[in-house]
Symmetry: C3
Subunit: 316 residues, 3 copies
Amino acid sequence: MGGKFDIIVAMRHVITAQQFDRALIEQLCSRASELEKLLDKKQLEKVELFKGRMLFSVFYEPSTRTRTSFSAAAQHLGMQVVSTENAREFSSAAKGETLEDTIKVLCQYRPDIIVLRHHETGAADLAASVSSVPIINAGDGAGQHPTQALLDLFTIKKEIGRLDNLKVVVGGDLAHGRTGRSLAHSLTKFKGNSLVFVAPPGLEINQDIKDYLSKIKVPYSETVDIPSALKDADVVYWTRVQKERFDSTKLKTTFVIGKKEVAAMKPSAIIMHPLPRVDEITVEVDKDPRAAYFRQAGNGMFMRMALIEWVLADKS
Amino acid sequence: MGGKFDIIVAMRHVITAQQFDRALIEQLCSRASELEKLLDKKQLEKVELFKGRMLFSVFYEPSTRTRTSFSAAAQHLGMQVVSTENAREFSSAAKGETLEDTIKVLCQYRPDIIVLRHHETGAADLAASVSSVPIINAGDGAGQHPTQALLDLFTIKKEIGRLDNLKVVVGGDLAHGRTGRSLAHSLTKFKGNSLVFVAPPGLEINQDIKDYLSKIKVPYSETVDIPSALKDADVVYWTRVQKERFDSTKLKTTFVIGKKEVAAMKPSAIIMHPLPRVDEITVEVDKDPRAAYFRQAGNGMFMRMALIEWVLADKS
Amino acid sequence: MGGKFDIIVAMRHVITAQQFDRALIEQLCSRASELEKLLDKKQLEKVELFKGRMLFSVFYEPSTRTRTSFSAAAQHLGMQVVSTENAREFSSAAKGETLEDTIKVLCQYRPDIIVLRHHETGAADLAASVSSVPIINAGDGAGQHPTQALLDLFTIKKEIGRLDNLKVVVGGDLAHGRTGRSLAHSLTKFKGNSLVFVAPPGLEINQDIKDYLSKIKVPYSETVDIPSALKDADVVYWTRVQKERFDSTKLKTTFVIGKKEVAAMKPSAIIMHPLPRVDEITVEVDKDPRAAYFRQAGNGMFMRMALIEWVLADKS
């Protein structure tokens, strides 16, 4: 598989979104697209698959969607999967074992990759420091969720055709939500992008991101005027606001993208959402070709397939 | 695989027992029998299997037996399985996502079939209405459990050799139990069958079924005289009565099939039970060749294999 | 596969450590070593694997480590795995079904092996009495855990090169811990071994084992002087003492193997531990080549692979 990726390192972990530069992101997007085409044509079996390779899916907190996506990705690639949903039993929570010891034991069972979801920030880094096999971070507490960040970029690339010169509206609870914040960060690796943040009062994006954007001269603005924000957006990245975080009933009903809002958007724009969606995008929007959020979920699996390939590429 | 089944439709879901007509039921029974022979001779690998095909097993409520049976069925057929036992985390119970959204997301991960178990009546129908892949209903609340209905018919066909001209005794808690009620319904598709319902007082079969049987002229009777009911039965379908539903201690001990009851049955008769069994059939009956309930459980897996083949037949 | 093992019986279950004699233990150790070499050279696919064979992993109580190890073992051997972590739903705990009925139903789904973990002593034996396929006991309550016993012997054989003429120190909570007690038993099958038991006051090994050792003339001693015990040991088998079982704070800190203790050990000695480890061996010991406990965990998987092969050998 080595030929598919140019950059070969001693061992490839997937820990943060920041570790991927522009070139590698584009390479991964391109490979994810190829894999999607091959799978949809039932031609995946014609490519070199990872028969006899094994992925351990180790989840310390439940995330059925991410776990299913990784399991399907690995199995579409011909890998075997051993899945643990209750990994806290392995751990300090149960008998006082450290994460490092758990990872060392798991490595002894000879997986080729460990996918780790953990409730503590920094867990993936810690795991990688003792692991004899590549770690893929499937989310570590309030920390990183790099495969989500990559699938968001992949979706924009696939739908719009470019990752530069975009006006991106990021909406929802930007104070607590990781995905919007992470996308803003990722987009700074590309050229000519500008950001508009739309958040209910009290749930605005943190100052540190804004300072960073100012420092690296990425234009941004903040507004609560949804129609004006959406009007000339290329990408609308909408996220869930937990009901208990709204301080007014009025907001609950107005912070919603519906048919009317979409009608005013550019024909070439797309609407993204990390899902699950509750009321913040109405169901009638789903039929609009600009509604990209379900395709986005699928892109997650293809990006995970590309990452598994990339991680295994230096070993074949 | 297309040659194995005659009827080709745009997309085949398995939602209700009623969707299967006599011809298709017999075709499925015949194929399930073939699959059993092939597996038992270790010749399954010689037939065309579903390598590279993937089944998602999505259970919103636990049913270890059904889940294991489907997983084994799919894997015996060479498929890959991604299994979710805690699907409620996906759903409204957790973050407010609708079942429709969940199914749409899962379809994006490119399964070939979704097996769905859900706590709400109508869930399988709802899922099928938005799914891009076939849905197999593995039980939806108080609603349907079509694979159970089909495995019961398959068991009768395999053990007795016919599905017509049978005297079938259905016993147990017929007011609450789904399986007895469902079998009564299924048997009306065939000719010359008659039914005897045996239920503790207060747990009799509902009037709607009796009205239906009268209307379509299927003879039935009701009794609490177990010996006389069993005497000339071809099939005794016995089910569990939950202890708290018995209103008398006496009944608890008399509503039981034991060695003596079986001794009075026809040599060619069979005893069925959807399992789990508690005390309502004594363990000493198990050795009698007429005790078909464990074979019946195995038939469930073979019928599920046949259904998976049928569902995939229009795509190969 | 028949050629790999000499002893062929009608059906091979793995129920107790005692069922394995010296010759078979050495055969299994030798095969486990071979399997490790083959897997690490990625040559497992060159040997005859168990494609199309299926293992059911049925756990009535959680044991993520053991379950993962068995799943990985079976899948490395090319088998399919159907895994149940919540098997109590099958059972009396849920609807009153007996373990015997559950096993009979599972056998109907045509697994080739059932791995059973159960909370009740004697469960594996009971399962084997009704099963039509081999049962591997993965721990039954306070009873047996034969694969742990075998992996411990395998580790000594692999690390030291022999299972005779060893001075073995067994330390920790020997009153409650199963592993230390079990190892002492296993070692009596070999020649010239002597045992030293090191336990906190009140947690000493039970009299029955000491009586047995006396009777069969295996020398043993008891001490709380860790340095003197370790000095000329070949094997130090250390286990966890649950904090609430220590009756003095002093002991908590002194019942620990650290760098200093290891420094005084023989260069050829090894330190074993069934894991999880908490504080009773310090992390700095891990780097010492004599620290064998993580390799020991891996040996567990290879021994399980050898046992699966052995169990299936009479059927191929």
